[in-house]
Symmetry: C2
Subunit: 343 residues, 2 copies
DNA sequence: TAGTAATACTAAAACGTTTTAGCAATACCA
DNA sequence: TGGTATTGCTAAAACGTTTTAGTATTACTA
């Protein structure tokens, strides 16, 4: 069952495909097609439920009305929620989304970029992995619209939308200090990427500003690609090794979840014996006993911002002066709950 | 920056585009292209990093190597996890995934199908909404490969992969009975679709089989499209209205989450004062205090099964006898935790 | 040595659009 | 009345592939 094409309409209307194309693309006036013919074509088109073949159109115009969304892991609550926002926002502009997960693996990310490229996506939303900067710059020099998200490359002048991760971590840590915790540890991911670096920096800066002596042994950096059990084991090892630790900041949502599980398995009472702050809000954090204080990202605003930037790029007419890449840094919200209170 | 095309290779190799196409599609032998020429073309192609333009190929062959994934809500843990599995499995066969969320809205679903159709996706994975049966049948009569997931239409003979929802609900309810709960309520979604119908049927059947008198007032069916607060309010109203209720089965993951929140806000002690079983596993269920008993779906197996079926269809050669639609029904696992124990 | 078969390749059409360049007919102007 | 503008449309090329239907050359057969 073939779809119906512009030719079918042309035949029925007794005009050329050219005319049909003009009319259906709203160029009737501009191309001086008479009202009569115009109306007739419109009528036939709706009667036949004509939908242009996007492949043919894409081949000719180079535009597919598709954007590529590269995330770390689509199954992760943060990215899944982001994907939903992106879907909705993109839809408003007639775009569809092809997604892919990198699992923080540079080779996988490169593969995804490659595939998306020869699928001719119009623009990219990318959660970059380490060492993806060259590829990003390549895309830029090819004038491909792209927006980085969650993290960026300081030496690459690109659009990006990220959280003020430094502030998030700083506020979380400050909060712990103000709550009376003295020996505060951080469990984070061994990554030099901006989001992780800033979270660690915010943490150490807060300690320093509040005259809490900083001790390297209070920092645990774990590889990204562990399974849940290994995370749990590593966290347990760490927390038992750190003498006198009385609070811990988990720098990602999944670390926080693993942390809760581990600490409970150790029999420590969250809040009382050990203060705890997580990253990203989550149903678990909200409903855990005690509920878990966390740094919450404004995911809807992030997604909206990303798509807005991307659309601006996509609608940018070649030849006109390009607007410079924009860096959007959104503010986190510290949601204070029971896990950071000794009472 | 244009990509390099088959013509560029042809020019460099001093042969025709046809020859290049044959070689790169592995038809060198079949089309009797000499080893020499074949090798030369291969070499040039890899040197130039040639990647076929998928639009052009798709236009010509009618195959886009893209599948459409229509879920209820990509932000929901269950569907997000499924999306990840589908992504991975599809990738093994060289397919990419376009996704869309219906929000259980038939009009949105129809819109998605329409868009995916004229984007020429090769196959569909669909979480159907109510009244989408006509569209499904239309796709089928157009010989489009498709697999329904999570729910299906009893009167439509299509591929589908679903949970044994009846058993899931039956086991959950039986478990509550065996734990000594006597007045067991269910909170579900007001939907006549199979997954919800079967969960309700499993619930009532279990009550009957265990001689628990069934009372219509113990069933609450809520509309899908409420926000969290409204869910909470409705659940609260329901639970306070039902005299003597001592256990409740929440028939979806988000209802379970809302249920936990609500019951706690009412000051009832989960397990002791009210038994609770949820649907789909979730970090919250695992780590809540008390932990929440739930009916868990084998998401990895579901995703794998779906993609396997779809690939079989996609690789099916026209003309050969079609294998009949397969119905895969996977078994749930009842994960027993603290919320269904009075101790 | 003519006829057939096999080998090694290619020209051109096709997929369904968009877009450029242009043509015929009518209208307008002096 | 001859020339220019304007109107209303279309032919054909192009996008980058795949595929059909060849052709030219060489090799084999009787």
């Amino acid at each position: 069952m073939k779809g119906i094409s512009i030719k079918d309409i042309a035949k029925q209307a007794g005009v050329s495909p050219t005319t049909v194309s003009f009319v259906l693309n709203g160029k009737a006036k501009e191309k001086r097609i008479s009202e009569q013919v115009s109306k007739k074509i419109q009528k036939i088109a709706t009667r036949l439920k004509y939908k242009p073949n996007q492949l043919a159109r894409g081949l000719r115009t180079g535009k597919t009305k598709t954007i590529g969304l590269i995330v770390e892991d689509i199954a992760n609550n943060f990215f899944a929620t982001l994907a939903k926002v992106v879907e909705d926002e993109a839809d408003k502009h007639g775009y569809k989304v092809l997604y892919g997960s990198t699992e923080d693996n540079t080779e996988k990310a490169k593969g995804l970029l490659e595939v998306l490229k020869y699928r001719q996506v119009d623009g990219y939303i990318i959660t970059p992995t380490k060492n993806l900067d060259k590829e990003i710059e390549l895309l830029q020099s090819a004038a491909k619209p792209l927006v980085l998200v969650d993290r960026y490359f300081p030496h690459v002048n690109s659009h990006y939308v990220v959280l003020n991760n430094y502030k998030g971590a700083y506020d979380a840590t400050t909060h712990l200090v103000k709550q009376g915790y003295k020996k505060i540890a951080i469990v984070t991911i061994a990554s030099d990427q901006t989001q992780m670096k800033e979270r660690l920096d915010g943490f150490t800066a807060a300690l320093k500003d509040h005259k809490i002596p900083f001790n390297k042994s209070f920092v645990k950096r774990l590889p990204f690609d562990l399974d849940r059990e290994s995370f749990n084991n590593e966290i347990k090892k760490f927390l038992t090794a750190v003498k006198g630790v009385d609070a811990v900041f988990f720098a990602t949502n999944y670390l926080g979840i693993a942390g809760i599980e581990t600490i409970r398995s150790m029999g420590w009472e969250i809040g009382k014996e050990i203060g705890l702050v997580g990253f990203d809000d989550h149903d678990l954090f909200r409903l855990h006993s005690p509920s878990i204080t966390c740094v919450s990202q404004p995911i809807a605003a992030i997604g909206k911002s990303i798509v807005d930037l991307l659309m601006k790029e996509l609608n940018h007419v070649a030849g006109t002066p390009a607007s410079p890449p924009q860096q959007v840094i959104l503010e986190p919200e510290l949601i204070i709950r029971g896990s950071s209170s000794r009472k």
